[in-house]
Amino acid sequence: MNKKFARLSTPYLYWLYILALFPALFMFVLMFLDIPEGLDVSNGLKFTLDNFKQLTEPSTLIAFGNSFLYAFIATILSIVFGYLVAFRLFRSKFKNKFLVLVILILPMWTNILLRTESLAGFLNSNGNVVLSLFGIESADFDLLGTPFAVIFGLFVTYVPFMVMPIFNSLEKIDKSIEEAALDLGLTHTQKFFKVILPMSSKGIVTGSIMVFLPCLSGFAIPEILGRGNIVLIGNVIEASFKNMSYTIGSLLAVIILVVILLSIFVVSKIDKEGETLL
């Protein structure tokens, strides 16, 4: 039975080869080529390491640094708040927990650009949605265009990715293990830190990867909430491709790709049973 269904995945595999693997390899080749513009190879293929000069630009280095920093902060925030939500849900007596999860994911059914634009409506000083509820037309502060706005946007957008795996790993903890811990004399706080937290750590790791990676490579959120003032590596890559400088764009994209692959490798080592979402 299973085998028959497995064949249904064949088209998807080809799809994956053609649209994911091949472009990645192509980008890998491109980063070593000397192409003045687009894919114009009328002057012949020339090997070069010139593209790597882009990595010595202060803006590129800072963009990489910022991307890691912002993604890191957003991930930490997501772990803290995501865990609280998942734990509260796990402990609640509510019958239909699935419904709560659906409500959590519901905003993700709308387009990410729309969500980001409406977040911008929360953060700007003029015509602020929240302030106008209190009859205030404009405020002195302007959060839009600050690092705070970008981190807040990343956190709000990706925190559901954290809640799901943590909740899943919490659900898998056997009730009797908790009872045993209490029987053996642990307080509730000790039980949490010595039993529950370690047992749900897989969920935290997977969730972290799932929040960290899109934060690292995204460009729409910093563009909109940072008002073009915050440069993350995703923005540099986007600008390179827009400018038809495919070689430099490929170089930067491949670096991000390597980081992503390494992270997934780490997850696969930790989560051998594949019980989390990845």
Binding site: P36, E37, G38, D40, Q54, E57, P58, S59, T60, I62, A63, N66, N124, S125, N126, G127, S138, D142, L144, G145, R227, G228, N229, I230, V231, V236, A239, S240, K242, N243, M244, S245, I248
Partner: protein
């Protein structure tokens, strides 16, 4: 197993065949038009479709570079593309275009209104076209025959670049300060209709925008300024302010570009979003296409009933500024070149161009259309025509304000309009790096 996979294949093949039939069912010709967003009036398209019994599919791109890439790759055979003049030049030099007409006979055959002089181009268009021709000659040398490029494009809309600003701000109202601030540069005040309180109407408007020391008292740092994020335009604006031309070679201008942009912290770096930010009063001043501003102004007239005088924002083009012609060209691999010519000719009939212009804030290339708008005239047609607009109070209100607004962005006499020249990818990369370095250092 083999049998089953054959069945699957058959199914897939069947679906493909069906889809081909469904899409190809109509015998109508289809015109594939690659255009900018919000850059065509679909009423006009519909009229064209009816008249020539065809379909028009409008695809969108958001940069001249993308136009070039799409035409060059040739994966979709577009029949009509609308790049700016410098990209027309590049497409021509890379042999991607076919002529709209190759001699006077063909001109008369395809574009009769143009051939017999019933329509003529506005001065600004001619000025830009001339500069484009000179630039072609400089690049290609003797192998280029003067005027050759004209056969390859037809102006669609044109306009200048300017500074869009919030009119409600006190600083822009206090005419006294502004007028007396710079006695060396005379102020041109009389050129807009009804003495529009155009406070930016100074020769050195660029100075204010780029926070020149001589202007710092006039425009304090608390003013929120938006800067264009497409570096070719940013660089063009800086160099127009410094050298009077947007086309200073990057090697000569790059250090000054860095210095000038570092003076101020820009509240927002964006492209089309800038006009929306001005509208939402999130920024006070930004560098943008003047036509883009008028797009927003038209909505103010039509949706909020504001008049030209009571507008809350407007735009001002400095005396020395950049200008552009967006032109219709036919790529070499076009499948329906003749239909594309018909489309171009359709727009060379002033009434149709007038209809197209109702939705778009840019300037019409045809003098006749401009005159119609300014004189608040509509096409002289019967009631059942697609060109008929009942002269209601609302319509007359719109026409009156439309006329004033378009007159205000029509280049004044004595203005120096320069089109952009094409920059190599490598140069743009360098400019991008500089802008990013400035952004991260703030």
């Amino acid at each position: 197993m083999a049998k089953r996979s054959k069945k699957y294949l058959l199914l897939v093949a069947l679906m493909m065949i069906i889809s081909v039939f469904v899409s190809g069912c109509s015998s109508k010709e289809t015109l594939l038009f690659l255009n900018w967003g919000e850059y065509i009036n679909y009423d006009m398209v519909e009229a064209f479709e009816k008249e020539y019994n065809c379909n028009v599919i409008v695809d969108l791109a958001d940069s001249n570079e993308l136009f070039y890439a799409k035409v060059k790759s040739g994966t979709t055979a577009y029949d009509l593309v609308c790049p700016a003049e410098y990209m027309v030049q590049k497409m021509y030099m890379n042999d991607l275009l076919q002529p709209l007409y190759s001699n006077d006979e063909e001109l008369a055959k395809y574009f009769p209104t143009l051939a017999n002089g019933k329509v003529t181009f506005m001065d600004g268009v001619n000025q830009i076209a001339e500069k484009l021709d000179i630039s072609m000659k400089e690049t290609l040398g003797d192998s280029y025959q003067t005027g050759e490029i004209e056969k390859y494009y037809m102006p669609y809309f044109w306009g200048t670049f300017g500074l869009m600003y919030n009119k409600q701000l006190e600083i822009f109202e206090d005419k006294q300060t502004w007028d007396t601030k710079d006695m060396d540069n005379p102020i041109l005040l009389s050129d807009t209709p009804d003495g529009h309180p155009d406070i930016l109407q100074r020769n050195n408007a660029w100075k204010i925008f780029f926070f020149d020391e001589t202007a710092d008292e006039v425009l304090p740092t608390s003013i929120r300024v938006g800067q264009y994020s497409a570096v070719r335009f940013t660089y063009g604006a800086v160099m127009t302010y410094l050298d009077g031309t947007p086309n200073t070679p990057v090697n000569d201008g790059i250090e000054r570009f860095r210095e000038t942009l570092s003076r101020r912290k820009y509240t927002q770096w964006a492209a089309d979003e800038l006009k929306h930010s001005i509208e939402a009063h999130e920024i006070d001043m930004a560098f943008a296409y003047t036509g883009d501003c008028l797009d927003m102004v038209y909505l103010r007239f039509l949706e909020r009933g504001l008049t030209y005088e009571t507008l809350d924002f407007f735009t001002y083009a400095p005396t020395e500024t950049m200008a552009h012609i967006d032109a219709l060209v036919i790529p070499k691999n076009a499948r329906h070149a003749d239909l594309a010519r018909k489309f171009i000719n359709f727009l060379l009939i002033p009434d149709n161009a007038w209809l197209n212009n109702r939705d778009i804030g840019y300037l019409p290339p045809l003098e006749q259309v401009y005159d119609m708008i300014v004189n608040q005239k509509a096409p002289n047609v019967s009631e059942d025509s697609y060109l008929y607009f009942e002269e209601t109070e609302e319509e007359m209100f719109w026409r009156e304000n439309w006329a004033k607004a378009i007159q205000a962005i029509e280049p004044r006499e004595g203005m120096d309009l320069t089109p952009f020249s094409y920059f190599e990818t490598e140069d743009i990369n360098r400019l991008n790096n500089i802008v990013n370095n400035i952004k991260v250092s703030k």
